[in-house]
Amino acid sequence: MDLWLIGELALTGALVGLMYALVALGIVLVYKTSGVANFAQGAIAMTGGYATWAFATLLGAPLFLAIPLALATMFAVGFLIERAVLRHMVGQPVIMIIMVTFGMEIFLRGVMPGLFGVSVKRLDLGIPQAPLFVGEMLINRAYLIGGLASAALIVAAIVLFNSRAGIVMRAVSDDQGASWSVGIRVERAIAIAWGLSAGSATAAGILWGATQGVDWSLSLLLMKALAIAILGGLDSIPGVLLAGLIVGVCESLATGIVDPLVGGGTRDIVASLIILMTLLVRPYGLFGREQIERV
C-alpha cells in the first residue's frame, strides 16, 4: 500500500478528529457537571457559527473582535439554556432530558436559518488555501490550523480543570450534595459549565464554518462528537483528546482503505461501530469512571 497515502490520510484524519473533539469537549463538560447528555450540542455549534458570521459580516466587525464577541454571546446563551430549560428538568428521567435537548435542537435549527437566511454563509478566517507539502504528503492548511486550535483549546480545558475553578466543577460532578454542604455554589458551577460548553461548541462552529461554510448542516457534527465522547469516556476531558485522534484516524483510513473494497461511504459507519464496540466491550470508555449503581 502507498505509505505516503496512509500517512497523509492518518494525519488529515487526526486533525479532523481533533476538530470534532472540540464539539465533544462541550458534551463532556456538560455531562461531567450536570449529568445531562446534550444532544443539542451540534445545534449550538451551528448557532455559534451563525453568531460569528453575523458579527463579522452583518455588523462588519473585524475578526479579532467578532470571535470574542461571539464566544461571549454564546457563553451567555449556554448560561440561559441551563437556567431557563434544564433547571426545571432536575430529577427527571434521562430520556426526558434527552428529548428536551432534541427539542432545543429543532428550535435552534429553525431560528438560525430563519433569521439569517438559508444560503450557505462564508466565514473567512484568512487561512490561505495554498497546499502545504511535507514530502509527498499534502497537509491541508485549514485543517492544520483547525486541528491545532482544537488541541490547544482542549489542553486549556484540561489545565482549567486543575485550577481552583476546575476543582470546584470536579467537586460538583462528583457529588452535588457534598459540594453544597461545603459551601460550593452548585447552580453557578453548572451554569458556568454550560456556558463553557457553548463556548467550545462555538469555537468548533467557527473552525468548521471556515472549512465548509455556515449553514444548518453544522448541527450534524453531533453524531461524530457523541462517538468521540463515548469512546473517551463521557466524563473525561483528556479522553476527548485521545478519542478524537482515534476516531479521526479510523474514519480517514476507513475511507481510504476500506471504501474501495466495499464500494462506498464507510465513514459514517465507523463512528457507529466505534460506539457499539465501546459500549459492548468497555461501556464507560477509555478513561471514563465506572458508575456503580448502589441499591
Partner: protein, 419 residues
Amino acid sequence: MKLDRRDFLAGTAAMTLSAAGTAPAFAQDKVVKIGMPMDFTRVYTFVTAEYAQGHRDYLTLINDSGGAGGYKILADITDHGNDIPRAIEAYERMKREGAVLIDPLSTPVARALVPRALEDKINMVTTLSGRSDAADGEVFPYVMPLSPNYWTQAGILIDYFRQVDKDLKGKKIVLVHIDTPFGKEPIPIYQALSEKLGYSFQTFPYAPPGNDQAAIWPQVRRAQPDWVIFWGAGVGQTTALSEAVRNGLKMDRISSSVWLSESDMEVVGKDACKGVIKFEAAAGGRDPKVIQAIVKDVIGKGKGAGPEAKVGTSYYNIGVMMAAIVAEGVRKAAEKAPNGPVTGPWLNAGIQSIENFTADGMLPGITVTAKDHQGGGRGRVARWDGAKFVPQTDWFAANQDLVWAEIKKYSEEFKKTGK
C-alpha cells in the same frame, strides 16, 4: 380561578387549532391553480428559496400581463420539510383546492407522490430531480421532469470533455459523489460511456451530507485524473470545491452537475475557483430577456417575491424556467380547449404539445411529447470566470441513445410491478 400554566397551554392550543386548516379562498374563473409544497427547511434549503422566488416572480409577470392564454396561474407555495406525511397532507389539500399541477422539488417526496399523482391524474413536475425514468411519458403519463435528468447531464458533461480533449481514449475521469441514490444515479451512464469512449472511470463516494471530505480529495489528487466531476448538493458542493482548491487540483478540469450556484462560489472564494465548469439547463445571469422583463416590470414595481440580489442567480433562473414551461403548457392547453374545464388531463394535453419553446432565448428549445417528458434533453456547459458563469458551448444534446436505454430499463420495471 387562578390562571396557571395548564390553562395557558390549553389556551395556546385552542388558538392554534382554530387557525388550522384555513386556506386562502379564490373566487375567480379562468384560473389555473398549481400547488408547490417544497422543502424550505430540511435538505433542499440551498435551492428552494431562490427557486420559489424565481417561480413567483415569473408568474407575477405573466399574470400582470393578462395571464397565459387568458388564464391566470395561481401558485400555493408551502413547506413540507422533506417529511412524507406533511407532503401527502399538502398534496391532498392542494388537490382538494383544485390544483392541477404539483411541484415538490424533492426526490423522496416526488417518489412517494408518484403513485398518487398517476392515480389522481394530477401533473407532477419533478425539476432536475425525482425519478429519472419518469422521462418515459408512456409509463408515467402525469410525471413530467421537463428538464434534463441526471443521466442526460452526465452524458452532456462527458461529451463536453470529448469536445475539449478531442479524444478521451486512455484518459482518467473521476467522479466524487455523495453516497446516496442521488449521487450514485449517473454512474451507469459514466460506466457505459467509459466502455464506449475508452476512458478509465473511478468513483469516490463521500458520506452524506458531505461536510467532511478530508479523506477523499487526497486520494483524488493521487489518482491524477484528467477530469474530475463532483456530484453533490448544498454543503457537499462547497466542501468538495474547497477541498479541491486546497489539494491544488486544476480548476478548469473540474466539473459539477447542475447544482452549483453563485453563493457556493462565494463561500469557496470567487477567485480561488476560477475555471470550474458546470452543467446549465437555463441561461444564467440577468441577460436573458425574460429576466430583464422581470427586473423592469416586477422588481421595478416592488412586487418581487424576495431579495433583489438573488435575481439572476442560477437557481432563480431555474425557477423562472420551470414557471415559463408551465405557463407555456397552460397557453397551449387554452389553445386546444379555451373553455375546457381546468383539470389535470387538460393541462397534461397542453404540456405535451409544447414545441421548441425557448422562453425568448433563455432555454434550449424544449419539446415535450407524449413519449418524451424530459423536453429534449438539451443543455450546455458554463465556466466560472471569477464573477459569473460564462457559457462555453451552444445548447446541445449528447448520448441521448444511452440515456434513453437506461430510462426504458427502469420504466419497464415500473410498468411490470407498479400499478
